[in-house]
């Protein structure tokens, strides 16, 4: 099955994925409610994306006391009947990737449902740091990237701190356009940019 994969080297910590997710799923901008969260290691260093991996043997399914979480044998999707959730938080505690968040408006714990097969966060990511791929394609892409960096002499070691990649000016308009169309709310490029700055500031303070 296809999964959401994250490349920290291409992430500019703009927070557009979090904005898009909370808008599409909760109707308001609230990064805490987003089902995808970009975790940072220290100052302005994107580390990993906390988003449901749809594990083969999900810990949340075992943990759920009401048995409302299930893994679909055919599609591989881990889904839940959130209406029946009584918020015991067992799934959040057991999830190894920290992908399960509480949605106060739904009165339930929720996780990524891949937007029915075409995740919005992947569509709006302005730098292409998020990818929606199956295992084989992801592995081949990573291997090719490593080989290319090796032969062109651009291989970076983990110790080197590279500056965050900048989002191209035109991309903001495009991203705002997709976001407005998909969520039915008017989001402007300036809004997104301001939120991006706020996100980076928060990351900086977190790192200090």
């Amino acid at each position: 099955m296809k999964r959401i994969l994250f490349d920290p080297k291409q992430c500019s910590l703009c927070g557009v994925c979090e904005t898009a997710c909370s808008l599409a799923k909760g109707g308001s901008v609230d990064a805490d409610r987003s089902r995808i969260r970009i975790e940072t290691a220290g100052e302005e260093k994107p580390l990993r994306a906390a988003v449901c991996r749809h594990c083969e043997e999900p810990a949340c399914v075992t943990a759920c006391m009401r048995g409302i979480i299930a893994k679909d044998e055919e599609t591989g999707l881990v889904s839940r009947k959130w209406e029946d959730c009584f918020r015991c938080a067992a799934c959040t505690v057991y999830c190894p990737v920290g992908a399960i968040v509480e949605d106060p408006s739904l009165h339930a714990f929720v996780s990524c449902d891949l937007c029915g097969g075409d995740p919005l966060c992947v569509q709006v990511c302005p730098n292409g740091a998020l990818r929606f791929e199956d295992d084989g394609a992801a592995s081949a892409w990573k291997r090719s990237l490593y080989a290319e960096q090796m032969f062109t002499g651009t291989l970076r070691t983990g110790a080197e701190v590279a500056p965050l990649p900048e989002v191209p000016e035109l991309q903001w308009e495009k991203t705002a356009g997709i976001l407005s169309a998909k969520t039915g709310t008017s989001v402007t490029a300036t809004d997104l940019k301001n939120r991006c700055e706020a996100r980076k500031k928060a990351a900086r303070e977190e790192g200090l």
Partner: protein, 177 residues
């Protein structure tokens, strides 16, 4: 990492000609179905005009000294043996794909059952004292498998044996040696 005990797969990109024999024997040796590839030969074009060149690099597991996959695995299914080989305990894997995201080389593979499998450096052959299938069958001897110290010794021997080899090859050729 102990250079005396850590085993590595060294790949000499000057010798690799992209025949994919390693990929084929790896699949046969490990009885792999369609999908997982423990090693994959990648192709990279470099240069322009007369210097344009197609480079090949087989990417098996690097069996890192401080492996990011071992640190990323939430269930402790990935471990490092005393001789440096990184192995997976399939029964403990929950298929969360954290290792694939953590690995800089895209090595972790996922079979039909969704559990992680990857290059084991043919541990069953190594325990019998044989070379891994890829290293034993590479027609160009581009893949070496030994401890870090031994690989270094082999490379120095090769360098010494051939002046047309190594970083100063062009200079040496020009000087007529």
């Amino acid at each position: 990492m102990n250079t005396r005990t850590q085993r590595i797969l060294y790949i000499d990109t000057r010798r690799c000609m992209g025949c994919r024999a390693c990929e084929t024997v790896c699949k046969l040796e490990n009885d792999l179905p369609a999908g997982p590839r423990y090693t994959m030969v990648t192709e990279v074009e470099t240069g322009e005009g007369f210097t344009e060149k197609l480079n090949f690099l087989p990417v098996p597991c690097q069996h890192c000294g401080d492996a990011p996959c071992v640190r990323a695995c939430p269930t402790g299914a990935i471990y490092k043996r005393a001789d440096g080989i990184v192995l997976t305990d399939g029964s403990r894997c929950i298929g969360c794909h954290e290792c694939l995201l953590a690995c800089p080389f895209g090595v972790p593979q996922f079979g039909a059952n969704g559990r992680m499998t990857k290059c084991t450096m043919c541990v069953h052959r190594i325990d019998e004292g044989a070379l891994p299938a890829c290293a034993a069958n590479c027609p160009a001897e581009a893949i070496l498998c030994d401890t870090v110290e031994n690989v270094s010794r082999i490379l120095r021997e090769r360098y010494g044996a051939s002046a047309s080899y190594g970083p100063f090859a062009a200079e040496l050729q020009e000087a007529g040696r």
